[in-house]
């Protein structure tokens, strides 16, 4: 596994597009901060030049973050996946391939996310009125988002590894992370015991997290981690089983 990880790292480090995507993401964050801080100079009544609003753009962009995650994942599981037939033929187990690619893409994604959060805080504290409590709320909201976003990333990885097209992956992400609550609510309204299931849907949790942040009532929620871990485990279990059986052409 170590040799396979090393070779994938070699590939990852030589992927110019991937690094370019990361830089573009950071530049977009920087541009958003600069534009928000500049607008009051043009329009003194502009109400959104605040750090809570700046941070809320991240808290409300769960699916967008996952789309960026999809771009990172494609780096090692996109067209490159065709190369794995040579790795399989050399006796590298599919288990090693599945987990190694996951570890590397996830690791890269987490590093980019951490740098992004760091950049947000630096910009938020320097471009807008500094408020430690807002930063703490932002970090707590991010902490709640992490398991949900990571579960989405694992869904992306699994679907990519079993050769599901990108369009279907995006639809799946929107379904789970934007509409799942709205669908589960009417669906199980009349079913006793399941009528509150929608409250645990990823889309409901992400919306609730944003509202709590805006209301300054955000706190660490264990249920977010529980839901995230359950989705992740189910995804990885099904994904690794399916990947072990697919034909690699």
């Amino acid at each position: 596994m170590i040799n396979y990880l090393k070779s994938e790292l070699y590939r990852l480090l030589h992927k110019k597009n991937l690094h370019l995507t990361s830089i573009i993401c950071f530049l977009l964050i920087l541009a958003a901060g600069l534009v928000l801080s500049y607008l009051p100079k043009v329009d003194p009544s502009f109400p959104y030049a605040t750090s809570p609003f700046f941070y809320s753009n991240v808290i409300s962009s769960g699916v967008l973050i996952l789309i960026v995650g999809l771009l990172f994942n494609i780096a090692l599981t996109g067209k490159d996946i065709t190369v794995i037939k040579q790795s399989v033929a050399f006796g590298i187990s599919r288990k090693v391939i599945f987990w190694s690619k996951l570890i590397l893409t996830l690791g890269y994604f987490i590093i980019v996310c951490l740098i992004g959060i760091g950049l947000m805080v630096v910009l938020g504290e320097n471009l807008f009125t500094s408020d430690t409590q807002v930063v703490i709320s932002f970090l707590l909201a991010c902490l709640n988002m992490i398991p949900i976003i990571l579960s989405g990333f694992l869904i992306i990885h699994t679907l990519k590894m079993i050769k599901v097209g990108e369009a279907y992956i995006v639809i799946t992400l929107f379904f789970i992370y934007t509409f799942s609550g709205d669908i589960l609510r009417p669906l199980f309204r009349s079913v006793s015991g399941l009528n509150n299931l929608y409250q645990y849907a990823p889309s409901t949790l992400l919306t609730e997290n944003l509202l709590n942040f805006m209301n300054e009532s955000v706190k660490f929620e264990f249920s977010y981690w529980l839901i995230g871990v359950v989705i992740s485990l189910i995804t990885l279990l099904i994904g690794s089983q399916k990947f072990a059986k697919i034909s690699i052409d």
Binding site: S7, G91, I92, D249
Partner: protein, 305 residues
Amino acid sequence: MEKVIQTYQLTKSFKEEEVIKPTDFSLRKGEICALIGKNGAGKSTFFKLLAGQTTPTKGDILLFGQSGKKIDQARKRIGFMIETPQFFPDFTAIQNLEYFRIQRGVVEKKRISEVLEIVGLNNEKKKQFSDYSLGMKQRLGIALGLLSNPDCLVLDEPTNGLDAEGIMEIRKLLLKLNQEKQITIFISSHILTELQLLAQRFVFIKNGAIVEDLSKDALDKKSQKQIYLKVDQQAKTAQLLELTYPDIQYKVLPNQTITIQNHIDKSGEINRLLNKNDVLVNEFHLESLRLEEYFLDFVEGNKND
């Protein structure tokens, strides 16, 4: 002699269709074996099963006597090249081989230059893979197969896209590897004359089943010889042959020519028969069937149906 590849009742089905019928096969160390069959006969699927790219529906595969979980270790001793080799399009030959060198735990970096030299890509090593011609891609695929000093090469259409000179070079290379390093070779190609110049054993596959397995000598004997006749009275010759040998197999060709596929051992008698019946024989000789013609007999369904 040690068996490099063995299969027992190896079967692969896709939905209802059995694309590889229960197959028993073995390849001994040092052999050069050709797998011959038309498109869709099951050659690539058979290779993919050996490479682990697809899983068998039933049956067993043993590589170097290893099966089950140990088979992955045995696969490291085989260089596979199945269908068009795939590499990273934005990487050069060196970068692509470096990726696989790291992955395969090949310690010496200079091995990359060595294999590129062997396949004649040393001057193209800095070009991106996406700019490679099909022939160059094939050569890089062979280079990858050789990277970890394998004991066996399994090559599916390795000369695809190569020009005549390239095909000859690869044939020489494979013969050299077999003779000097005792590398076992299992190969398929649609250029059957090349296989005839290379292989010592010929396995014919049709509709997912091995229908014939011949040594070079046996193939020479079987495919060899048909009687070639050029006569002045074609119809009379055919009539005489049918009357004398009721089971005779012959073909009537243009230019007063007839070829006879059986009773080869009675060539003298046939000659005498024609002379005795006033048929003027302008040309009479024995000729060999080429591998293509032998193969086409299978494809057309004249044999083993």
